[in-house]
Point group: D2
Chain length 167, copies 4
Amino acid sequence: MIYNKGDHVNEEVQKPVWDGLSGRLTGTGHVLAVRVYFEDTDFSGLVYHTSYLRWCERGRSDYLRLLGIRHNELASGAFPGEPGAFAVRRIAADYLKPARIDEILEVHTSAGAVTKASLVLKQTVMRDSVPIFRLEAQCVLLSMSGRLLRLPPAITSLFSKGGDPCP
Amino acid sequence: MIYNKGDHVNEEVQKPVWDGLSGRLTGTGHVLAVRVYFEDTDFSGLVYHTSYLRWCERGRSDYLRLLGIRHNELASGAFPGEPGAFAVRRIAADYLKPARIDEILEVHTSAGAVTKASLVLKQTVMRDSVPIFRLEAQCVLLSMSGRLLRLPPAITSLFSKGGDPCP
Amino acid sequence: MIYNKGDHVNEEVQKPVWDGLSGRLTGTGHVLAVRVYFEDTDFSGLVYHTSYLRWCERGRSDYLRLLGIRHNELASGAFPGEPGAFAVRRIAADYLKPARIDEILEVHTSAGAVTKASLVLKQTVMRDSVPIFRLEAQCVLLSMSGRLLRLPPAITSLFSKGGDPCP
Amino acid sequence: MIYNKGDHVNEEVQKPVWDGLSGRLTGTGHVLAVRVYFEDTDFSGLVYHTSYLRWCERGRSDYLRLLGIRHNELASGAFPGEPGAFAVRRIAADYLKPARIDEILEVHTSAGAVTKASLVLKQTVMRDSVPIFRLEAQCVLLSMSGRLLRLPPAITSLFSKGGDPCP
């Protein structure tokens, strides 16, 4: 296995036990496995439409986590820059095929355009290597009072202008 | 007050008591009030991004309800056509201003393009008459096994091609 | 109608329009109507078990709201006492009958034992006057850092020792 | 690693990749790791009270999954007995310490009393080996129309009367 930077809160205790919990960095982004549970479905028998967005939010959080960016540090001010939290500014999503209870899905995430104010993340939920959901999410950083912040260089520098991780 | 068609499950008992629960038809669509509760917020102190989508789904459901279309009847086959349930096929959303705990918001819904296979609903979440969230949702009808169904004429006939309610 | 203290954020604009949104005070507590939407159900075709708890949390919030206690004021320090937020300390719940999509339910809330540290709220979800879910929730006030706070007298004084609203 | 019966939908493809996704059987029950994401928190900065219940439902589902019981097979009739879905009949929960964004928690599950009609599962959410939440959940099996079913012997036989896994 590859030890990822910033993978776990308690490295000693939990890293060997729950490896994979934060997904994995790939050459071009990140992948996270999720399971479809009761909570994700609705009475139609299929997955409720916001569940895909919750899974993608997990994928974005774990992608950033493995790059060294953690929400608790952003919010507490431990991370360089004014305390803040990521928020979604715009989303566009396509629901390609329905998912169902008990299925294992993969959330693939890669970075799109990066500016001083926002970061676009492109995400695909896959089932058995087939895309079933696509999302493009423009994310911004808000202060705890809801004001737009500039993204710290420590974040933007992780990506090239085009959004790929910097070599 | 105006008595709306299909407003309540148990007209006798609850209509006078909980008037407004399903929102109201307007000349061009529908409006529903929602309250921001604990469940809708996240640790940033603001509303979580999928909460707006849940509210808009409530708005769509109540708009259709007041036009005489109920999910339980669609699913049970009581409504003309094969049993089915509405599903989201595509969404595009803009988060304009953050919402917070305790606020009262209004979900405004109107119909966009209607075809034999899909219905577009345009929605705006307002706070004190100011738009804070916009959504365009393309909705389809799926059979209980997840297959795409044609929209019954009893549904499409409610709207003109352009999506406005038929006069 | 009865105008309730603290009913709305923007009394002038919204009170006449969305009356009932916060439920109503009764002689012995509070009642709030909720609708079962897609978000509340799961693939079994019935309501997911945590949805009842979300509805009860709405009932508790609106009961306190109509008594003049608002979460945003507790958190901002506008309410007397150290800034804080209500949290659940203990719950016991009985699921009596399943609920389904489109149904209208009523959340009935009354106060149980009140101490300096906690407030017990007793709740019943009713459908057509039949109880389908019962909850007893012991609530405490936590500081924003998660420390237990004493309930301000402005809150405890609203209830007698036994929990009924004070005459 | 130990290969668990019924661990994955697509054994060949995903078992080596996402090992741990379904948690692990222990000598006396099951353990599952969960991460605290945005979706799990509320404006107080802490975890929302129903999130613990969603995590415990995941733990119960994965415990049964690793014992060979899958929700999709129960619902489709592929599992012996009338088609059905598990539902919660009664819960009692203690919130011991608050959890926060980014934390890794473990959901420990073991079986309590088993009868022909219900299965009690005892669960503890741990953080760094410290219990922060305890739940006792009595689960029943409902037909797709909401009627109480007897638990199939294929399920009850997995546990002794006292609830421990049978040797």
